[in-house]
């Protein structure tokens, strides 16, 4: 079928819309190399001074480390609990399964501001405000739904007979999970882990409420920078934030292509 005029116009319109979608992610790059000391485009000369500021500022460095630590810990926790829960939900039956599944997905559906509010109120008496543990737990809870979704999707393609064969040949549940189920659903787990990491790495709303002075993540410093001054260092920090996300997405895409994985 030859492409009609209408379909060509649709294609052009679609690319125009997609470019509007991608441009905002790119704007931080030129701004981060501006030669000026306020937020601007580098029309009159570029400079790497803002990256130097970023890399020599103890505050930014510390925020970078904190964000990394929190993202690694919370995504590890979410991946562990979410994977186990997804495997469990896949093999149990009963009236409450759908309700339990819905409960586990709730953190994804509830607006972040309400999660923030709920954590804030609950964390105070528990002494979890402004602590690494508090933020790691909060981010892990927000990320569990991601992992449950990706692992459940991987399990949907899993042949139940393999599990039954393993169990009827005498393998215990832990052995069956480790030796039979996990290897097959690894792409789903990997996807869940990557998404959980990015979720924590970018998370701002909940973090704003449950951290104060001691814990100051990268998005939080970016948020303050954007609202309080015009220092182009925030653009350099935004570039770091974007690149980290892109590296994880690219790594994930490469890994899943290598495996010839269908779900990616």
């Amino acid at each position: 079928m030859k492409p009609s005029l209408a379909s060509r116009i649709t294609q052009i319109a679609a690319w125009a819309i997609l470019s509007v979608l991608i441009i905002p992610s790119l704007v931080a790059f030129p701004v981060s190399v501006t030669g000026k000391t306020y937020l601007s485009f580098p029309w009159e000369g570029a400079s790497l001074q803002h990256f130097r500021n970023l890399l020599t500022s103890p505050e930014w460095i510390s925020s970078f480390g904190q964000s990394l630590l929190i993202a690694v810990a919370s995504s590890a926790l979410a991946t562990l609990l979410g994977t186990l829960a997804a495997i469990g939900l896949w093999r149990v039956s009963g009236r409450f399964i759908e309700a339990i599944r819905a409960f586990l997905l709730l953190p994804l559906m509830v607006p972040p501001i309400i999660s923030a509010m709920a954590f804030y109120r609950w964390w105070v008496p528990l002494g979890l405000i402004d602590s690494y543990l508090g933020i790691i737990l909060a981010h892990a809870i927000l990320a569990i739904p991601m992992v449950v979704i990706t692992v459940s999707a991987a399990l949907a393609n899993f042949d139940l007979k393999l599990e039954q064969a393993s169990r009827s040949l005498g393998a215990s549940l832990p052995t069956t999970v480790r030796r039979v189920i996990l290897p097959v659903i690894r792409p789903g787990i990997l996807a869940g882990a990557v998404f959980a990491f990015i979720l924590s790495w970018d998370e701002i709303v909940v973090t704003l409420f449950i951290s104060k002075f001691d814990v100051f993540t990268l998005p939080r410093r970016l948020w303050n920078g954007m609202r309080e001054n015009t220092d182009p260092t925030v653009a350099a920090a935004a570039v770091v934030l974007i690149c980290t996300t892109l590296v994880f997405l690219a790594g994930f895409a490469i890994l899943s292509r290598k495996r010839g994985d269908k779900t990616a």
Binding site: L18, L21, I22, A85, M109, R121, D202, I204
Partner: protein, 282 residues
């Protein structure tokens, strides 16, 4: 197998840790917030009465619903064009389009709001360009108003509209459109009489998903609205951090959760949630 194993499935042990953690540290605090709406500052429905008594609260709710509706219409319309083009694109082109979609989906809302700040500001790129080519003589007010918030929200919500629409369109048998054309219908007729009606579930699912997700917008209105376009989420944060009125904030949170869950329930009838979210995760 013994009788015991048949009545207790050991797989429950795998579900338990996540469920207990979410129950104790998420569901319980959420329920706590819901309860606050009828107990703080004093028991009763005083907080809910504010919807009718306070113009501020009524205006706030109306502004939020209005901005979310406009965002929904804009994102679903633009998203429909992209999905339609993706459906008919060659597989290589479609993969490239998908990559753009997923990258933008996963770029932080902060970074994207920051970018719009640089593009739409008084001395932003858009105004500079328009001034430069002489199309306008004074910078347009593109930011610190509802327009700026709408641009930021629509851009953020586009992937949420496209993924369910595309999932729906890919489920339509292409032979239906071919049949319509071979029976003599024009392309335009085929689109409006055959294809469009078949995508209704996708349009409804996408609209609900975008509307639900935009109700809770916090970062975009706060940054692009410049404090002038307050939506419910930002108002809640002011109530908590500045005026410390938990009751009002909890009442708004309860309304928001109730509408989100009700719309989710409807959404689930049009498109399995796993398809909606699964599409996003792929």
């Amino acid at each position: 197998m013994t009788a015991r194993t048949s009545c207790f499935n050991p797989y429950w042990l795998l579900v338990a840790p996540a469920v207990l953690l979410v129950l104790a540290l998420y569901i319980a605090p959420i329920v706590n917030v819901l309860l606050l709406s009828v107990t703080d500052p004093k028991p009763g429905f005083g907080n809910y009465a504010r919807i009718f008594e306070s113009d501020t609260v009524a205006n706030l709710i109306w502004r939020t619903v209005r901005l979310c509706l406009i965002t929904t219409v804009a994102a679903v319309t633009l998203g429909y064009i992209v999905s339609y083009a993706m459906l008919h694109a060659l597989s290589g082109v479609r993969r490239r389009m998908m990559a753009i979609l997923l990258i933008s989906f996963w770029i932080s809302v902060l970074v994207r709001s920051f970018a719009w700040l640089m593009l739409l500001g008084h001395n932003g790129l858009v105004n500079d360009a328009l001034l430069g080519i002489g199309l306008i003589s004074d910078p347009l007010p593109l930011m610190r108003n509802e327009l700026g918030v709408l641009i930021g929200m629509t851009e953020y919500m586009l992937p949420y509209a496209i993924l369910p629409l595309l999932a729906n369109m890919q489920g339509i048998d292409p032979r239906v459109s071919s049949a319509s054309r071979s029976l003599g219908a024009s392309n335009v007729q085929t689109f409006f009489r055959v294809f469009l009606p078949l995508t209704k579930p996708g349009i409804i699912a996408a609209s609900l998903l975008v509307f639900i997700s935009s109700l809770g917008f916090y970062v975009t209105p706060a940054i692009l609205g410049g404090g002038k376009v307050q939506m419910i989420a930002e108002y809640i944060s002011v109530q908590l951090l500045v005026t410390v009125r938990w009751g009002v904030a909890a009442m708004l949170a309860t309304l928001m959760i109730a509408s989100v869950l009700a719309l989710m329930y409807v959404l689930n009838r049009f498109m399995k949630l796993s398809v909606v979210f699964g599409g996003a995760a792929r």
